[in-house]
């Protein structure tokens, strides 16, 4: 079972790289959906292990929540938002994709060196998985910087959340359930608010290009 978790953590990291290489907003959303599915699988496997050893349902409940929210609801919501604010396909990123991918690789190496300090308290095999998940956070952050469209930034935020969630799961064997639940409520509200703001920005600026948000300075 644990072998699966290792493979999944690598696949999640890879999905972040794939996201970085995407060019269209529709493919961002689909990559995000795939990544969330991988995370749901991971939560499911860990949940089954937890159920067997400790008899707790927490992680399985979280797995269902991820499936409903991050695999089905949020991607659907983003697709609908995008359909409403459709604009002509144009280049959405600042640097070209090979450079972006190289920066991402550098981020992974950087994370590896940062997390080596933890080796006194966490077994090495888990540290390597943590490197994968913490890298996802940084890649998500970098994705937000590298994309100009508002929806790209929302996806970046979601990927950061995904990375945080995997880090929590691997590093702490799950937070207390109430914290997980609160996290999800916050996440869904944040996405709804950002979605509404995208609509309004589109109304006011006739575009969702965040480069146009440059009125307030100094």
């Amino acid at each position: 079972m644990l072998e699966f978790v290792k493979i999944l953590s690598i696949l999640i990291l890879l999905s972040a790289f794939v996201l970085m290489g995407n060019k269209r907003i529709n493919s961002y959303i689909e990559t995000f959906r795939a990544q969330s599915l991988l995370i749901a699988l991971m939560a499911g496997i860990n949940g089954i292990i937890m159920l067997k050893t400790e008899g707790r349902f927490d992680l399985l409940a979280v797995c269902v929540l991820i499936l409903v929210l991050k695999v089905i609801y949020i991607p659907g919501l983003l697709h609908r938002t995008y359909a409403h604010v459709k604009y002509e396909v144009e280049k959405d990123f600042i640097l070209n994709i090979p450079i972006l991918i190289s920066v991402c690789s550098a981020l992974v190496v950087f994370t590896y060196f940062c997390l080596r300090t933890l080796s006194s308290i966490i077994p090495n095999s888990i540290i390597l998985q943590l490197v994968n998940s913490v890298s996802v956070i940084w890649i998500g952050l970098f994705f937000m910087i590298s994309r100009k469209k508002a929806i790209g930034q929302i996806i970046g935020f979601l990927v950061i959340e995904n990375g945080l969630f995997v880090t929590t799961m691997l590093g702490t064997e799950g937070m207390p359930f109430i914290v997980d639940l609160g996290l999800f409520i916050d996440l869904i509200t944040a996405i709804l608010i950002m979605g509404i703001l995208v609509f309004r920005i589109n109304d006011q600026f006739d575009s969702i290009d965040t480069d146009q948000l440059n009125k307030l300075k100094g």
Partner: protein, 490 residues
């Protein structure tokens, strides 16, 4: 009482949903904030006499002590003042046809959700839940920042949501590391508990804790408006409706600072000194003050100027916490209270000026003292107060912090701080004082206050900050001493 406080805003929100008439909504608003103040005062009384209070139900997640009560009282008192001010402010906005009457309900709904999230953040003892509440403050206030729904407000709201959500996400990484540092020391359910972490601080893993502190400082520092993560703050503060700016600046920043102080306490207790946290906090604090000083010098928009001044004062509090001597911590906590009262008063008077003159440009405003005799005077005196002139209360807390710096051996930092404060003072005088005198060339505005009740609230705040600089009630001192003991671990 601690658990009743979060319930009041929830009931208020439910009641507001049911009402249609704006008159009733104003009444509910005033009643709710009044009740909150009564609850908070009773709670404060209990804490001063009995120390920390823990409530048994819901898994014991509610906990208050002197430190949380100080910030909680600030939240609720500023909440009362802004809710009184909001009544007149909203009526005037409707009269000027800037908002529709239906929007009053939305305003109050969001405002009380905002207050609810802040009260929650200050009354829970679980790091994870506190994080959730602080993230929720961003979400609840996002539409308040974008309330005017024009290009500027939307830009501010978008920046606010994105930057603060990402910042807070980084703080969550810090919280995960906190949890990791308690591995093997605390049971799973207690590993995010303030009290448990604090009591077992000495046996936590130091390297992880250091890493955790950096992440928490960056994360909550984003919300507290510390440079270089402050970029959302001037936009959000200048574009939000003025009472909301007062809440953001006077209350929200302190709630985030509270999170940093809690983490700081545990880390310092673990490392048994403040060398590590002190260096980081002093650096980030001085950088914030420097950034603010530069932007204040060149500012053309008075609400943005006030926002940068908030960054400056958060920097001063960070410096005080970095020094970590009893005097500095005392000064820092006092500065929190004084800054909130003064800054919210300034934002409220700026709101009156904005409604009268309909511009945020300093250069387009002349003769404020003639046209708005009361709020103009309050604004002028408030500017002196915020720049640290005696006899106002900010002077007394700033002098505490500066003395602590010099007597604590950080002489050069003290010198830099004093110099920067002088620059800020000069900047405020140079950019803002031309607003007060002179005649307007074109059409003349009718002299006279618009929001009379709100102006009354401003005057009360002005009296409070003036008296606060001259003497302090003994129970306030007692409360600050208790909180200081909690922070220093004595």
């Amino acid at each position: 009482m601690g658990f009743i406080l979060p319930i009041i805003p929830v009931i208020t929100v439910l009641l507001l949903f049911l009402t249609r008439k704006s008159f009733l909504q104003h009444i509910i608003n005033l009643l709710a904030s009044g009740l909150l103040v009564i609850g908070a005062l009773l709670l404060t009384y209990k804490v001063v006499n009995e120390g920390s209070i823990r409530y048994g139900f819901l898994g014991g997640i509610f906990y208050v002590d002197a430190l949380s009560v100080i910030v909680l009282d600030i939240v609720i008192i500023i909440g009362l003042v802004t809710s009184i001010y909001s009544v007149g402010y909203l009526q005037e906005e409707i009269r000027q046809e800037k908002i529709r009457p239906g929007q009053i309900k939305r305003y109050y709904l969001l405002m009380y959700s905002f207050i609810f999230t802040m009260v929650m953040a200050l009354t829970v003892n679980n790091l994870g839940l506190m994080w959730i509440a602080i993230e929720a403050t961003t979400l609840a206030s996002a539409f308040l920042v974008g309330f005017d729904n024009n290009k500027y407000a939307l830009e501010a709201a978008w920046k606010y949501v994105i930057i603060c959500s990402v910042g807070i996400a980084i703080a969550f990484l810090g919280i995960i590391l906190f949890y990791l540092s308690a591995r093997g020391v605390l049971s799973e359910s207690a590993a995010l508990d303030w009290v448990a972490l604090y009591e077992n601080a000495k046996s936590l893993q130091s390297p992880v804790l250091r890493l955790a502190f950096i992440f928490i400082l960056v994360g909550f520092g984003t919300k507290a408006g510390l440079a270089p993560m402050h970029t959302w703050l001037p936009d959000a503060h200048s574009q939000a409706p003025s009472p909301i700016s007062a809440l953001l600046s006077g209350v929200l920043l302190n709630s985030a600072m509270y999170g940093i102080i809690r983490a700081l306490t545990i880390v310092n207790c673990n490392l048994e000194n403040n060398i590590f946290t002190g260096r980081v906090l002093l650096a980030i604090g001085i950088l914030s003050i420097l950034t603010a000083a530069i932007f204040i010098m060149t500012q053309r928009d008075y609400k943005r100027l006030l926002a940068y001044s908030s960054i400056e004062h958060m920097g001063i509090i960070a410096v005080a916490m970095g020094v970590f001597t009893p005097l500095a911590v005392f000064g820092g906590l006092l500065h929190m209270i004084n800054h909130s009262l003064t800054k919210s008063m300034l934002f409220l008077s700026a709101g009156n000026i904005l409604q009268k003159f309909n511009t945020m440009q300093i250069s387009k405003i002349k003769g404020v003292l003639k046209i708005l005799p009361f709020s103009g005077t309050a604004f002028l005196l408030g500017l002196f107060a915020i720049a640290g002139t005696p006899p106002f209360s900010i002077f007394s807390s700033e002098i505490n912090i500066i003395v602590a710096l010099f007597s604590g051996g950080s002489i050069w930092i003290g010198v830099v701080l004093v110099l920067l404060l002088a620059v800020v003072f000069a900047g405020i005088v140079a950019s803002l004082f031309r607003m007060f005198y002179g005649e307007r060339e074109q059409e003349t505005l009718q002299p006279g206050e618009i929001n009379k009740v709100g102006t009354g609230a401003i005057v009360v705040l002005l009296i409070a900050i003036t008296l606060g600089g001259l003497f302090m009630p003994s129970y306030v001192i007692e409360l600050i001493y208790q909180a200081q003991g909690l922070i220093l671990g004595i």
